[in-house]
Symmetry: C2
Subunit: 395 residues, 2 copies
């Protein structure tokens, strides 16, 4: 396996922004174990605050960063993890850290990740835009100043592209128009203020690479599903968060949750939407492939990061229902009125050949969904069914 083979060579100074999140904490553990240099996390704990705001919580209890890191140190007999609590929209604090740490790899996961949260009201739309876009803009400018050779790996989303009626290439496409040709950025058609903030970060990052010679990997990630990684399942003290509520929960994670707690599985609208999906362990493997295969100085490159995309939401709901039955749960499916404004029956074909080229070996989709039932079973009495219903409407 490509990822495994190159493992021993990894000696980077890795900075992970958004280290407390679902992706961020998994990455802290993943690179902590595999990297022979420091792995430094930063977070403003906004997700923990947002959970209180929306009166929900991670289904799986999560420890403080301090406890998590102490536990990691004991479990793996390594002391290469650090954590700083601050907000990267504060340029002074971020600049100070970059100046002293001089990271060689920077992951920017410090983005509020929910479409419905950004659509709650004007204040939430504004906060999302500022938090995500200004945080990333600070980072770009301060990288130029303090660590211009670092490799930025930025979290984008497949949602930036929307659902065009043509194939979705990896960031750029060669087109022929009125008899002339050019290679241009693929048009963006995001579906929420959250998704637009991601588009803006993408556009800023591409521009910063061009003018300042920064090297950047921008990943258009599909919807991530799954509960544990190899490391996070080893002890409750290093558990990862798991959200199933109507605001921060995502499709498959919610479907499995609904099946376990006896609520109907609820595709939105007609349920003929198609999206890209990948397991949280696939996501980690992708990150490692980017670190081991960095872009050239001044290169800005885009990966469509997903492994499953040819089933509709209805088909996924049926698959979860079937697996639920095998695990002893009698699930039902009920399509509900779509709270979003989106096409419910559309073409979808994202090109993913670049990750295949780097040697990604994805997990088995059905096996991983089955594993989710095992991972969540111990928490089945903790679900708060009230929070399952999506309440934020686009119109």
């Amino acid at each position: 396996m490509a990822a495994k083979k190159k493992q021993k060579q990894m000696k980077e100074t890795i900075l992970i922004l958004g280290a407390d999140g679902y992706i961020g904490w998994s990455a802290m553990l993943y690179f902590g174990v595999r990297n022979n240099g420091r792995v430094v996390g930063v977070d403003n704990y906004s997700k923990r605050k947002q959970m209180k705001e929306i009166k929900s919580e991670s289904l799986i209890p999560i420890e403080s960063m301090n406890t998590r890191i102490k536990s990691y140190e004991k479990m793996f007999n390594k002391n290469n993890l650090d954590f700083h609590e601050f907000d990267i929209t504060d340029a002074k604090l971020l600049g100070k850290l970059l100046k002293t740490l001089k990271p060689t790899v920077i992951f920017n996961f410090a983005q509020m990740p929910s479409a419905p949260y950004s659509m709650l009201d004007l204040d939430h739309a504004v906060w999302t835009t500022k938090n995500n876009v200004i945080g990333n803009l600070n980072l770009l400018w301060l990288m130029k100043e303090h660590c211009p050779n670092a490799h930025l790996i930025k979290m984008g989303t497949m949602g930036e592209y929307g659902t065009p009626n043509i194939d979705i290439p990896e960031g750029f496409f060669e087109i022929d128009y009125n008899g002339r040709k050019d290679n241009l950025p693929f048009p963006k058609q995001a579906g929420s203020f959250y998704h637009w903030a991601k588009v803006f970060e993408t556009q800023h990052t591409n521009f910063a690479s061009k003018i300042w010679g920064l090297r950047a990997t921008d990943l258009m990630q599909g919807v991530v599903y799954g509960v544990t990684t190899e490391e996070s399942k080893m002890s409750n003290e290093v558990s990862n968060s798991f959200y199933y509520d109507g605001i921060f929960g995502t499709a498959i994670n919610r479907f499995v949750s609904q099946a376990i707690c006896g609520s109907p599985i609820t595709p939105f609208g007609k349920g003929k939407q198609t999206r890209g999906f990948l397991n949280i362990k696939d996501s980690m493997q992708c990150f490692e492939l980017y670190v081991m295969n960095p872009p050239k100085k001044g290169e800005y490159r885009v990966f469509n990061q997903l492994v499953e995309q040819h089933r509709t939401v209805n088909t996924l709901a049926k698959m979860v229902k079937r697996i639920a039955k095998k695990k002893g749960y009698n699930a039902t499916i009920k399509n509900i009125k779509n709270p979003r404004l989106e096409s419910e029956d559309h073409y979808y074909n994202a090109i993913t050949s670049k990750l295949e080229g780097l040697g990604l070996k994805p997990c088995n989709f059905e096996e991983e969904i089955e594993r989710m039932f095992d991972d969540l079973e111990p928490y089945k009495d903790k679900f708060d069914k009230k929070t399952l219903t999506p309440k934020v409407k686009w119109k």
Copy 2:
């Protein structure tokens, strides 16, 4: 003339955001005279503050808004202009005004308009992004709440498109890719954080029209040149601002200024760049055409607003030199090192058929440049040559 013919019918409640600016004040006068309803301006006076910050000033002295409006009332025997000083990034103040005024037409010119200013440093890039993008986001959300049927006319820029090697359509284009077709937003390739902020506003506005049914005209404006409009030239008390410095001054306005004050005319780099241009009076006529021909409910439409685009910057410099000679000034041309990162020799063909379809009758380009010499002559001893040099570099 189409614009004239329909003049008598105009009875709108017009809100002009950014009413103190070069475009904004001209529009206040233009619609004040022609509209039979109220014309209400809002500005945070940021341009006057920025002039102090960069140690420059408008070549033509400008009065306070109070004096300008009082003078307008006397000159035209009308009292339909109002002005409020506040910042539209303050959603409470903007919401209160929309709620009470219930405008039928809203111009959003409340954007910091300079690429170099946005590239000064991180603080200026962040300020530009927040000021322009959050101001417009507030406006969209508050229009939905208080005046969902109003017609938003938003100031974009041709600079959003960059210089693609293909024709530039009006916002959207029909493409054929891998054997399938779609009509998609034209890709954006902005060249500064200012230009990117404009792109983000455009993307938010299109999205808001889609989800909330707002009607919007988004104008991708070329570089505006010219000193006076029919109204602003009538009295010193209603004069419009004129900027020629290296940060806020734009190509033709700067070339004429350089010719008058005896500094060389300075195209950037090779000078083979091509851009779209239009006179400030053309700009006003375009606005009137949009007001008289509004989009349908829920329609978002884009106009490429320019009238001249087939001469390089070098050719324009030579034209200004020739006209200067006729007016008694012995101008020279000196290409200087390009402070920006931009293509200096490229294809450029923007499609402008929609404005032609509405009946735009543009001014004569050379005549208007000649008129600029007459308009600026009284101020020729006021130029501060030091501020002419562009000091902000992209790299």
